[in-house]
Amino acid sequence: MTVQEPTQQQLNQERWRDVPLEFEAIVVGAGPAGLAAAYTLAKGGVKTLLIERGDFPGSKNVMGGILYSYPTHQIIPDFWKEAPLERPIVEQRAWLLAEESVVSIGFKDPGFYEEPYNNFSVFRSRFDRWMANKVVEAGATLITETVVTDFLFDERADRRRVAGVVTNREQGEIRAQVVLICEGANSILTQRLGLQEDLSPGDLAVGVKEVIALPKGAIEDRFNVEKGQGATIELIGESTQGMFGMGWIYTNKDTLSIGVGVMINQLSRSGMNPNTVLEKMKQHPAVRPLLAGGETKEYLAKIIPEGGYHQVPKLYAHGVLICGDAAMLVNGVHREGSNLAMTSGKLAAETVIEAKKKGDFSSVTLKAYHDRLQDSFILKDLKKYENASALLQSNPHFFTLYPKLARYSARELFTVDNVPKKDKQKKIWHEVTSRRGIWNIAGDMYRLWRTLG
């Protein structure tokens, strides 16, 4: 070459002259928690960087498929007017599956088809992409395809403060006053900070899901809903092959989301693949007709933190806050997760906004996040069900015997065979108590009531 070459560094310096490499807040992960946090921060005037590892926000995100209206509305008012949603849910059913039968209870209210709605079926990939645009419009900086691998620390004499993040790219260090970890259930960074102890396979469930295409009309006919309305079914019992867990079927516009989640430790013992569990559920006589003729569009998997209240990590430290699945904020009993994630993101952001006012991002100030969670439904609910997981895990008959008994009882009651109803009740009672002693049942019910009631 005959010309004077400017060094690449000089060229880069020139190009990067106005690029900010320091932010007030960094949010790691553009899932429900991170998006809610970044949105609230940006709206609150905090200079925010949101870092997502996928190609676009949503590309790595998986959930069963229900978005709760109220907490979302709290963050983005009237979101339903423009967000990509599937169907507003007007009916929720619970199915207790035994081998070939189903005992069903449900609640349907057309009032849920009106603003402000109760909940919607959604696809995370589409919803999160939309919400990320909102976050950017609100003023946050979003970068994708970048993995946060570590933290920057400020070491002072008396304390160690998180002072930014390290990414897997060249020149990949960015500084910030505070980092919000919204990395999801694979809580690698949370563990790196020592805030979460190593989790056991009894604290986590693996969920697998399929998206199955069906014509709109077929969905409405099969689920007995009006045009545009949606229904959900939660399935317990045989749906998980007797393991601790739950299945679900949600109606989308022209697809169904069908999935099943089981505890990893139980799955390990069963020797089964999660897809096998799902396939068996799909073959159940009560489920199969709902899916008939459908075409699978996608297969997904995610782990669900089921550790509950006891496994919630330390939620804050100097310069850092943990939200959403990374903080184990999942209500396993009510199948709620994304709403806890969003609300925790919002509360974390509000804490940061206050900390910014004070100019103090130490754990003393950030502890307010923990207090907010404690005062909110999030930790109250988790506390309420703190023993549910342990109870259900240590009593497998909730998933094996009771569905069978329910089936037996219902079958007896509904079979018209000229046996007097009183005799039937006696027969049922006899069968039930012979399978599990009366005192055991009473004990189960009492504990269940204490735990869930």
Binding site: S125, V206, I264, L300
Partner: protein, 94 residues
Amino acid sequence: MQTLEDKLFLVRFQPDDHSHIHINNKELCQHDCPDKPCTYICPAKVYEWNEEVKAINVGYEGCLECGTCRYGCPRDNIHWVNPRGGFGVMYKFG
């Protein structure tokens, strides 16, 4: 019944040219792990026991990035990190 292969065919992957999953100690798999749960608990069956070489084959290209293996390996023998930014699974629906 729909096979897992059929389903994985529907998923969009952008695999990196190197694996984000590593088995720490092959000896452990061979000698101290009779059940090898990774070979069945993984929703994408990324892990496969290779009897010829007495080691687990890791088909990282089909990893759904759920993390079940991280917690399900009884010997804590799987080193799993997030794939490089922009690589790995890309869900269409989510």
